[in-house]
Symmetry: D3
Subunit: 247 residues, 6 copies
C-alpha cells in the first residue's frame, strides 16, 4: 500500500531550513518538514537563573507552543485557558533535554539560551521538526556569543542534534509521518540522535497496540538513517553566510 504523498517508506518529506527569519533573537530559524512549519528562536541573556548563579555553568531551556491557527481545526489559546497543557509541557521538556545534550554548559559560561519553538503550521512531526530547527538556531546563537566574546570556551557545541518520527502504519515501518499517517499509526516513535549516530532520546509508544522488539529495531534503523540525512541538511544550511544583517 503506497503512501498518500507518494514517498518511499524510508523517505523524508521536503525539508527547508531558513536562517535569520527574525531580527531580534541571536538565532532564528524557520524549518519545514513538508507542511509542518516551526519557527525556532534562540534568545541569549546574560546571567543564569538564581539557583545556578556563581556555578560558572550556563543554562539552556526551551518552550514549545502552537499558534491556534496552526491546526486543521482551530485550537484554543493556552494563555486564554490560563494553563499550559500536558502535551505542551511534555514537548517543551523534550526539546530542552535534547538540545542540552549538544552543549557543554561550562563552556557556555554564565549565559542563558532560551529556545522558543512556535508551530506556525502543524501536519505531524512538530516536535521533531522543532528539535531539528532549534539545533540550527542554537548554532547561530553560539556563533553570536563567540563573536561577542561572551563564551567561557569558544567551542561549547560537542555534537549536532537532529530528530525524526517513525511509526508503523498500514503494517509497514514508515519515516517522518504526516498527520494523516500519524493519526492512524499503530506504533509511534520519536528518535533524537547526534551526528555520530549515538542516541539522545528514544520514545516509542504503542497506540492502542503493543509492538515487538523486532519492530523496535526496524524503526530505529529507519530513524537513524533519517537523522543522518537531516544532519547533512543542517550542515548545508549552516555553511551558508548569515542572511541579512546580524542581530
Amino acid at each position: 500500500m503506497a503512501r498518500s504523498d507518494g514517498r518511499a517508506d524510508d523517505e523524508l518529506r521536503d525539508i527547508s531550513i531558513t536562517r535569520g527569519f527574525q531580527q531580534h533573537p541571536a538565532g532564528s530559524v524557520l524549518v519545514s518538514f513538508g507542511q509542518t512549519t516551526v519557527l525556532c528562536a534562540a534568545s541569549v541573556t546574560e546571567g543564569v537563573p538564581r539557583w545556578r548563579q556563581g556555578s560558572g555553568l550556563g543554562w539552556l531551556t526551551a518552550e514549545y507552543a502552537m499558534l491556534p491557527s496552526a491546526t486543521h481545526t482551530r485550537s484554543d489559546r493556552e494563555s486564554v485557558k490560563g494553563r499550559v497543557g500536558g502535551r505542551t509541557h511534555e514537548i517543551s521538556r523534550l526539546v530542552g533535554r535534547a538540545l542540552r545534550a549538544a552543549i557543554d554548559l561550562r563552556a557556555l559560561g554564565e549565559n542563558t539560551i532560551q529556545l522558543d519553538c512556535d508551530v506556525l503550521q502543524a501536519d505531524g512531526g512538530t516536535r521533531t521538526a522543532a528539535i531539528t530547527g532549534a539545533y540550527v538556531a542554537l548554532a547561530d546563537a553560539v556563533t553570536w556569543l563567540r563573536a561577542h566574546k561572551r563564551l567561557a570556551d569558544p567551542q561549547p557545541l560537542s555534537c549536532s542534534i537532529a530528530a525524526v518520527s517513525v511509526g508503523v502504519v498500514d503494517g509497514r515501518v514508515r519515516l517522518d509521518l504526516p498527520y494523516e499517517e500519524d493519526s492512524r499509526a499503530e506504533v509511534d516513535m520519536n528518535v533524537v540522535a547526534t551526528d555520530t549516530g549515538t542516541l539522545v532520546e528514544v520514545q516509542g509508544t504503542g497506540e492502542g497496540a503493543t509492538y515487538t522488539r523486532a519492530t523496535l529495531d526496524a524503526m530505529l534503523d529507519s530513524a537513524l538513517a533519517g537523522c543522518a540525512h537531516l544532519t547533512e541538511l543542517q550542515n548545508a544550511a549552516l555553511a551558508e553566510p548569515y542572511p541579512g544583517e546580524l542581530p
Copy 2:
C-alpha cells in the same frame, strides 16, 4: 529633524500583504509594516456561542498575541505566566471591535469567525498592522463562506477597514511610528477608518504630556491619508487570485 529611516513625516513604511500564508484557516495573511510582521488568520466555525444561539446573527471575535521572540528583548509567554496581560486584552478587544464594524452579522448567518493576530516580529504599530491584515483575512474567509454557500446574505461586508498609528515625535506629527519613535513619542494615536474615510475608532493618548485640539486635528489628517493608502494596498492584494489551493 529627519526620521531615522529617511521617510517623510506623512509616509507609511514599506507595506507587504501575503495571502494564503497558512493552509488550514479560511483566511491567512502575513502583513508587514516595515519590520513589524503579524500573522492574521480568520478561522470559521459553524454555529455561534451559546448566548447567541437561535438569534440568526453570526459572531466575530479576535485574539492578539506576541511570540516571545518577537520583541527586542525576549518577553515571557503569557500561557506560562497563566494569565493574559492587560495590554493583550485591550488590543484583542480593539481588533474585534474594529472588524465587527465591517461586517453585517445578520448577513453572516449563524457562523463564527475567529481572528487570530500573532505578532511574529514587533517594531511598533503591531495593533494597527494586525487590524489592517485581519481585514484581508476576513475578506478571504467571507469569500470562502460564500463559495461554501454558508452565508445568510452573499454580501456581509459593508466596508473595508484599515488602521495606522500617528504621533508627535520631536515636535512633529509623524505617521506609522516604528518602535524607536513610538517609545519616545509625546502623543500617540491609533486611528481605525473605513474605505469611505469615516471613523471606527480613535484612541489618542498623551504620554506624560497633554496635547491641544489643533494637534489632534493634524494627527487625524495624517492618519486618514495613511488609511486611504492602506485601503488601496488591501484592494490590490485582494484583486490577485488566491495563491495555492483553497483551504
Copy 3:
C-alpha cells in the same frame, strides 16, 4: 426627542463629590454622576516598585473594579473567577495613565500612590466618574504628603484632570450618558482633559456604526465644555476644609 431624565443634550447629571469617605487612605472620595457612584481612594506607600528604585522618581498606578451588586443584574466577582477581565484591565490602565498626566513623578519623590476606584453603583460613565473622583483623592493625598514633608518638591501636580463621556444617541450628540443611553449609543467617546482644556486621552468608538469627522468635532466640543464644568466642581470641593480628622 428628549432625554429620559429631562436633561439638555449638553448637560451633566447631578454631580456630588464627598471627601474623606474612608479613614485610612490619604485621600478617599465618594463621587456620584447621577446614579453612578464610585469610591476613589489614594493610598500612599513609601518607596517604589523594584524596577524603579534609586531613580528618584515616584510611581502612580490605578486599579478599577466593580462590586458584584453594583450592576442591574448581579455580576460575578473577578476574585472568584480567578482572573481580571479585559474590560477591567483596560479601564485600570486608562485611569492610571490619565492621572499620571497630572503629576510630576520627580517632584513626588520615591513614593507610590495607588489609586483604587471601586464602583458601588453603576449607571453608565463609571470610568469617567472614576477619573474625576480619583483626581480629587490624588490632590488630598498630595496635601497629606506635603504635610508629612515627604515630597521631593512641594508642587507635584501640574494640572487638574477631569473626564466625561459623550455619544451619539437618537442621532444627537449627548453629554454624560447614563446606562439607558450608553447601551444604545451609535458612537461612544470618553474624553480626559486638563483644567486648561488640553487633551490627555480621547477614545471614540463606533458601536456597530462608523462616524464622520464632523461628528467627532461636535462630540469634542460637548465633552470639553463638560470637563470644564467638572473642573469647577472639583475646585469647589477641594476648597472646603478636610472633613473629620486627617488620616
Copy 4:
C-alpha cells in the same frame, strides 16, 4: 483598665443600619459597628444552581470581600492575585451558613439569594457586622419576593440572625472588639444567635493561649446579651418604611 474608646466591657460600639443603600439589589444595607462599615447586598435570581434544579428548594449563598482601601495599610486585591485567600473563603462560608439557618429553603421556592458583603472600612468585627447587616438585606429581599409573588410560602424566615465578637483583652471579657483590641486579644470568639437566644454558630479561638470553660461561659453570656441588643436594632430598622423607590 479602661477600654480605649471608653465603653463598658459589655457595651456595643455605635451601630447604624441604613437600608436601600444601592438601587439594584432587592436588599442593600450599609451597616456600621463603630468605624467598621460593610455594604451587604441581597440579590435575587430566579432558579437555582443545576445540582438543585427540580428539588423545589431555593438556595442562599454568600461572598465576603474587602476593598483594598478598607484596611489601615492597603491590602492587595484578590482578583489581581488571581485567588481568593483562606480567610476570605472561611468568612464567606460562615456568612452563608449563618443566614441559611434563618430561612426555610422550601418556602423560598426555586429562587437563589446571593448575599454580597463588601467591607468598605475595617476596624475589627467585620464578619459579625456582615452577618448582622446581611440579615436585614435578606429580610428586604424576602419582602421583595413576597411583593412579586415569587415565594412558595409567604413566610420563609423562621427567625432573625445577629452576630457579635467577644474576647479576652487585658484579662477581661469584652464585647465587640475594635481592631486595636482584637489584634492583642488572648481569646477571640464569634457568636451567631437567633432572636430567641438559641445558637447558630460559636467559634472560639485561643490566640497563642488556651482558655478555660469558665471563660467560655463568660464570653457566651456577654455575646448573647450583645446579640439580643443587635436584634432590637435590626427590628427598629426594619420597622421603618423602605427608603426611596423600591428596586
Copy 5:
C-alpha cells in the same frame, strides 16, 4: 436508638497511631479514627519565612488535603482544578492554629515546622484526626530537633493537643461521628483541647437548625472527655521507642 456501629454515645471509635510511617520527614504519623485514616508529616527546615527573619522566633504552619480516592465517590484533585477549595483552606488554617497553641515559637528558634495532613481515607472527623495525629508528628519532630541541637530552648512544647468531633444525631449528643452520622447531624461541633483540659478551639455549627446553651454544654462535656482519652493514647504511642531508623 443505637449507633450503627454499636458504640455508646460517649465512646470513641477504634484509634490507632503509627509513628515513623515515612522515612524522610522528622515526624510521620499514620492516625486512624475508625475508617478515617490521615497521614500526618512534620517536616523541618532551617530558617523562617522572610517576614519573620531576624525575629528569633520560629514558625509552624499546616496544610490539609484529601486524596481523590479517599472519599466514597472520587473527588476531583485540587491541583488539577488549579485552586484550593474553601473547606481545604479552612481546615488547613485550623490545624496550624491548633498546633501553634502547643509550641513556644521562641523556644523553637528560627526553624520552620511544616505539618502536612493528607487524608488517605475519609469517614468523618478527618480534621480532628489530623490535629490529633499532627501533635504526635510534631512531638517527634521536636525530639529530632533537640537531638540535632537546633532548638533555642530544649522544651518548646508547653502542652499536648487533641481534638474530637461531637454532635447531635437522632436527638442525642454523640462523640466522634463517622460520615454516616455526620451527614445527618443537627448540630456539629469540633473541640480542640490540651492535656490539662483547657480549650484551644471550639467550633459549633447548627446545620439547618439552631441549638440551646444546654446542648452546647452537653457537647462540651462529651468532647472534653474524648480529648482526655485521646491524650492518653497519644502519650502511650509516644512512650514507645521510635520505630526503625531515625530520619
Copy 6:
C-alpha cells in the same frame, strides 16, 4: 563497583503489593519497590466524558501526584501553587497510555475508570511502580465491574502490564534504580511491557550524555527480564482472595 544496596545489576528491589488498601475505590493497591511506595486506586464511574457519549466505548485515564512529605526535602503542593507541573503532567499521561494498552474499551462499555497514583514515599522509579501497581488495581476494578454485571464483554483485559526503570550507572547497565543511582545515571530508561514480552512504551534519555545502540539493547534485555519478574509477582498477588470486604 557494587551497588550501594548490595543487589546484583539485574536484580529488582524488594517488591510488595497490597490489595484492598482503601475501602472506597473498586481497586486500591499499595505497591512498594524498595523504599518507593505508591498508592494506586482505580475508581469506577458509570458513563464516559461528554465527547465520548454514545460511542459504546469506555474510558480510562490516570493522574499521578506526590505527597509533599514523600521526598527527601519537602516539595511544595501543586494545589497551593495553583498549577500542575510539567513532570506530573508527563507521568500522568504515561500511566494512562500504558494502562489503556491493556484494556479493550469496547468491552469495558460506557464506564470510566480513573486511576490515581499517589506517591507516599519516593526513592526512585515512582512512575514504574505506579504503572505496576495500577495494573493490579485495574484488574480488581474489572473484577468488581464484572461482579456488578456492568461490562459489555466479560474479558476486557487483553494482557497484563508491568514497568521498570533501567539505566547506566558507574558505566554498568543496572535495573530498578533507587534515587541514589537515578540521580547520577548517565542514561535512564523506562520500559513498559506486557506479560508476553511485547513493548508498550520505551523512553530512553541520555542525561547530559548520549548512548549507543548496543547500550540500548543491553538496557532492553535487562528491563524485559525485570518486567517478566514483576508480572509473576502481580499474578501471585491477584491469585489471593480479595482482603476484607469488597468495596
